[in-house]
Symmetry: C2
Subunit: 220 residues, 2 copies
DNA sequence: ATTTGTATCTTCGTATACAATTATACAAGT
DNA sequence: ACTTGTATAATTGTATACGAAGATACAAAT
């Protein structure tokens, strides 16, 4: 089965991943308020599953840092404040830069093909003015870089960051030049891969991350 | 109840944390081999608990990146290669440096007292030549810095790194000057806090992390 | 000999049942 | 009124039961 570069589906994921993603989205988009108790039974009714998968999802969300499990008392929502998001974007920036550095050094020919193909999709969707597809392919572009860094820890962590910030400011960040700007930023990154220029790659990624934070958080 | 600075116990942890820690230790110290299937029933017998807590522990270890859960096939050990450890130390270094930078800027008086107290414990245990206690207090020193960074994400992540690397090279890193060297490295960090010198703090932490990696991995 | 189909067994995913802990309500005492 | 003790209910932690998916073994067909 051919998977286009933006496809980040994971066929080996546990069956409750759907539940996990639903719960995470509902927490991050404000369906549950910070400090709110997440009663297992309530979640069972809401999502029509039994307690076992609910508990497993809560455990994973605890690692994400958006839920706190207190012994014998249950799970509570930990809200993401604006400061939390800003800090997280700063942390993400640091590792995205490192990922680019390692990826440029370690990328295989096959991965390079994949990156090029992904970038061409970005150009295509920019022409088509398809913001929805662009968001997906954007994620995919970064994923290819994570893979090319050949560092499992980095890959896992940056994917996790993407999950946590994906809803932040997602509705208010599009001005008229959004697609063109994003494409330009990624072109600079892609060019650094072509040139095998680590320093240029790091700089391009830093610019991209600063602009992303600006678009999402409204702060510099 | 007074908690001395090296005490990293967490009273709010889920009851299965004991199981989680046991399992993680047994995986990281080689009790289970990379690629090995972790059959739930086997783990139930081994640790004398039922499948529910076992499954929850496996989910958390998946987030740690040392176990892979494949749908309908089960959990498998993901080994930590030397390269994995080296990469992880590099990643940890990057965030430890950032933690120090933020911590020096954001530390409260109370946290500063705690840091000072912790450092004095380090001096004390160095005099006493107590390596066991020194390891604990060392962890505590870094934990205080994480807290002082006032960044939940960073704090959680660095704690997680500590859990993952704590057994690596733990038996072969002590030469005669071990305690003195570690103390010296931490003194430089502590001094940067006293002086509120962000740059010096970052440098001192970088040196400390490089030396730690050297001691643990045998590589520079 | 290799492959394919089928039967069986194992293991997982989920639901439910039971025990332990915590939260709540309310009465008695100060 | 306000605390304190106790009984009750609600909720969590753990164990177990059941259906479904995958692994395995082996016979039949090529």
């Amino acid at each position: 089965m051919y998977k286009f570069p933006g496809d980040v589906s994971n066929n080996n994921a546990p069956i409750s991943e759907t539940l996990l993603n639903k719960l995470r989205r509902d927490i991050l988009t404000g369906g549950f308020k910070p400090g709110q108790k997440l009663t297992e039974q309530d979640l069972c009714h809401r999502y029509q599953v039994s307690r076992t998968p609910v508990r497993e999802a809560l455990r994973q969300l605890e690692t994400d840092g958006i839920v706190e499990n207190i012994l014998n008392r249950g799970a509570f929502v930990i809200g993401m404040s604006d400061r939390d998001y800003e800090d997280m974007f700063e942390l993400r920036k640091i590792y995205e830069i490192q990922a680019v550095k390692w990826a440029i050094e370690r990328i295989t020919d096959e991965e390079m093909d994949k990156l090029e193909e992904t970038f061409e999709f970005m150009e295509f969707y920019t022409l088509r003015n398809d913001i929805e597809k662009m968001l997906t392919i954007n994620t995919g572009f970064h994923q290819v870089i994570y893979e090319a860094s050949h560092n499992r820890t980095l890959q896992t962590l940056l994917s996790s960051y993407q999950n946590l910030v994906k809803y932040k400011g997602a509705d208010s960040m599009y001005d008229d030049d959004y697609l063109q700007n994003v494409l330009k930023e990624h072109r600079a990154i892609f060019k650094a891969f072509v040139d095998k220029d680590v320093k240029a790659g790091a700089q391009a990624m830093e610019i991209h991350m600063n602009r992303t934070k600006e678009r999402r958080c409204g702060t510099v």
